[in-house]
Amino acid sequence: MSRILTMARAGREALDWEMERRDEIFVLGEDVYNFGGIFGTADGFGAKYGPERVINTPISETGFIGMAAGAAMAGMHPVIDLAYIDFIGVCYNVLLNTASKTHYMSAGQVRVPMTLMIGTGGGYNNAAQHSQALHATVAHIPGVKVVYPSNAYDAKGMMHAALRDPNFVIYLTHKGTAGVGFMGPPIKTTLSEVPEEPYTVPFGKIAIPREGSDVTIVGLGMSVHESLKAADELAKEGISAQVVDLRCLSPLDRDGLFAAVSKTGRLVVADEDYLSYGVSGEVIASVVERDPRVLRSAPVRVCTPDIPIPFSRSMEQAILPLAGRIAEAARTAVKGGA
């Protein structure tokens, strides 16, 4: 049996491997040099690569993410650490109008190969400005690839793939899945046996971490793990739940999704992002616009409702899409089906 890694270690291993071999890769962001990034994305890199290639920036996201885009256009591959996705509000223009659109507007003359690592998600009482999921807000932008690994194996393979991609890639990690010290012990299902040699996990392919026949639960990021917990609970009641990990939002594996849902005929989507105008609706639309007859019961969404994330545990735990709510939705989907 080979060694087991946390997601943070696995992602770092890929970044380190590529950085050792490719001079065009450099890291920039707040607190990456001394601190290794708030969520450990570049732990130890400052000492290894020095301040030229691990650049501590001021708190100037518009400035340094814009700079990253320019460095990418000029032949580098910047890797940016943005600890909290809530902060995209400060620098959204670079994402929305520059990094994502330059290749298209220049008819392919100008490439913007850069990787933006962002931490997402709540569940640890950090209130409305540091707990949002917001993956739909970035996945909605044409011209950006968005990946969202949920386990260490994918974290490494998708990091290698992102660093070899000639495009702007947003690499999301739910803070609670990363396996970094201050978020508590790592969730068991985020840990994987990870080969020491490099490998890529291609974008645009779902994974099926658990097979089942009665209902398909589609999740991403933390919701994959809550869905797996829900599936354990459902198994005790004789309900066999298949769990799908989207793991890449753009491009979205609509074929794989359709095939998985076709197998059970019942669909639950678990998504920590806000309910409305999000990935949950996109998943359902992707299935039913291909063939609504594949569903034997109405699809059910389990999301964060359209409210800011409350601070207090009693409220936050009730509004997140946790295993109990997901299992309940699966029961509803199964009961409602023919």
């Binding site: 707040e30 920036t57 708190i59 509000g89 209130a127 400005q129 207090s312 409220m315």
Partner: protein, 328 residues
Amino acid sequence: MPLTAEMRREMYRQMVRSRAFDDAVIGLYWVGKTPIFAFANGPLPGELHCSNGAEPVGAGVCAALDADDMITADHRPHHVAIARGVDIVKMTAELLGKKTGLSQGKGGHMHIYDTAVNFASSGIIAEGMGPAAGMALARRLQKRPGVAVTFLGEGAANQGAFHEVLNLVGVMKLPFVAVVQDNEWGVSTSKKESTAIARNSDRAGAYGLAGEYVDSNDPDDIYLAAERAMTRARTSGGGTILELRTARLAGHFMGDQQAYIPEQMKQSDPIPPYRAKLIRDGVLTEGTAAEIDAAATAEIAAAVQQAMDAPYPDASEAFDHVFAMGDA
């Protein structure tokens, strides 16, 4: 207003209250977080950014404010909130996520709002800038008195919002003071590493504002500088960048080991020297100082007990307050 003995006693009292508050919440923060540290555990969950070392800023600046003046603070708001007179019992309950908190458990420690004393805070860096300028503008349009004072760190002075808003303040001659708290560190990044010039107050000239730097972390000096800035704002409507050297003794947030801080940059506690100074000046005696210290500790202990005893909000309350009531 010249600095009186009474004002200095009061500034000392506010510093001690703030320290007692932070020490108490730090103690509470570690409850439930061993052996495995996790932000989510214990009676005081989430990130916690304490103000130990910055008390002179809150005490000194707030002593120069009137009831009409308005404050926006940042992710490290305790020392300012306490000196401004934010309800400390309700603030303690808010940190614990209780129903009796200032925001009924919705905000937590980075998001402190108390309209009774015109106080607001935001956890997004430099996000107090625009709203403060807007508050100043509103008062002008309403023909009411009031200066807007925003508190931010030296790290925040590199955000776009800082520069955009200072230009607006300069152009519009708004009654505005930006209090830049220079504790030398933005999380692990030193000011030298992040800022092209030594003093942000020197940037004032670029925006048609006044700039002043106070390097003592002594509330007497801070008060006098703040009083000059407030007078400028009240009389001519001109803005000021008031940069104050201060300290960050409890790290960026709880659990920050601060291994990145070299020995020669270790900061010192501003409270003991101010206490000694007031005793030397005959403003306090050892006895009266000890009384103030004991009263603060007792006040905070009572607030913590009340907060611990208070109920959590019901889960259904998460859905309240998304929108204000009433339709057009």
